[in-house]
């Protein structure tokens, strides 16, 4: 009699955004709103015009929570409502939050908004429920140019992770010291 035990699969998720493939159509922003019931007037993820690369030319850049490995929001949250899952995704446990807004204050990327109706901050959670169900995040699934990929840094054969490991994809503003997990292919 043996019980089948499933070995825990370890993941370390990151996002790769290839700005050279982005046409700025905001399909990702809209898919995100639909998937996550984002309230009127707010966005979890948006396309912003941002100067990138050596040329410093302004390009459409997908901007949302960077899922920092050393996240200020996780450090400062007094209730531990914001926490990092073992797979790297930074999530909010709405049942523990008091709505003090310290996380909104602390995020250098400005990735959080306050859902005034619920009195709770909100942000991108990488569609972790979809990931847990074996699906891709809504933005990744929707992107017409296949500019967004979910990477698993724990998987040596992962193609998107290879772009991070090779240095082709880089984080925005690493000098802030938060070790962001969203990486951008910036082109020239």
């Amino acid at each position: 009699m043996s019980t089948a035990t499933v070995a825990p699969v370890r993941h370390r998720y990151a996002l790769v955004v290839d700005t050279t493939r982005c046409i700025g159509c905001e399909a990702c922003s809209v898919a995100c709103r639909a998937e996550n019931n984002v309230p009127e007037g707010h966005w979890r993820s948006r396309i912003v015009a941002y100067p990138l690369g050596k040329s410093g030319q302004t390009r459409p850049v997908k901007w949302a929570c960077m899922h920092c490995a050393d996240a200020p929001c996780v450090t400062v949250c007094p209730t531990k409502a914001t926490y990092q899952r073992p797979d790297g995704i930074v999530v909010i446990d709405a049942d523990r939050c008091v709505g003090c807004k310290y996380c909104v204050f602390a995020c250098p990327y400005g990735a959080r908004y306050v859902d005034e109706e619920r009195g709770i901050p909100d942000k991108c959670d990488l569609c972790h429920e979809r990931i847990d169900a074996g699906l891709q995040p809504a933005c990744v699934q929707t992107c017409v140019g296949r500019a967004i990929s979910l990477a698993d840094l724990a998987d040596p054969n992962d193609e998107a992770a290879a772009r991070i490991n090779s240095g082709e994809a880089k984080p925005l503003h690493p000098e802030l010291g938060t070790k962001p997990s969203v990486y951008y292919v910036m082109g020239r």
Binding site: A64, P78, T79, V98, G99, Y102, P108, G119
Partner: protein, 302 residues
Amino acid sequence: MVWGWPVAWYLFLGGMGAGAMLAGLAAPLVGKQYAVVERAGAAVAGPAVAVGTGLLVFDLGIGRHEPWRIAYLYLNGSSPMTWGTWILTLFVPVALLYALSVTESLPSRWERVLTPLHRVVARARQVLRVTAGVLAVSTAIYTGVLLSMPPTFPLLNNWLLPALFLASALSTGLSVAVLVALVLEHRRGVQLGLHPWSRIHIGLLVGEIAVLLAWLGVSAGAPVGAESVQMLVTGALAPVFWLGVVAFGLVGPAIAFVAETAPGGHSCRLALTGEAGVLVGGLALRYLVLAAAVPILARPPL
């Protein structure tokens, strides 16, 4: 602004209450005749910090409507807000008990309830004194640490901010303690000599001006921090900065206290005006610290 007026008022009241406690604790060292300043400082501290804490609860999102969630605030040892929750929770009752321990006369309506408690706390006065002092310094400083910890706002992300908050707390606390002491003594028909307090206050103001200049200098040298300093000194917030903080809060009171301590000058009215100006300046400073904080990266339209 993530945090607005309620938090600015809290920063002011919390600092003022903590400073009032410290001014009160210093009173016996300044002179035996100043026991009334000790009582005044102790009496203001607890209520001021309690009202400020009430404003913090009012500023909460869901926690205001579901207050049991506030219990979670005690749990993250790495968050300055958790430290603050503990500090405030301890400071308010300790300050109230200390005030009771140094009080001269109990209000007649509460006499029956308070007399036995008064007997107990009067015996523990020394322990309460030390505890209240440590908690007052913590209350005055932790807010500065809280705002300075994240890398998000260069104006705030430096160690001079806690120093500035401590300086402002000492100054505003001394002012409110002296003002309340004057009211208490006036009722008894006693003229309180204020010279030593005015002299101490001149020292505090000089210290605060030095910290303020250092803070502005360090911030002006940081990327984006310069934008904040520009807002304060020549930009949209300049009227509040120059009139509220500099004129009412620092230079005006310094002149008033110098005039008050000058030979032959013992105008109580001058000292009173100075103390009131310090309080106005203290509130203006706390508001400006929040209002002038420019984020290091432009905020995305989320």
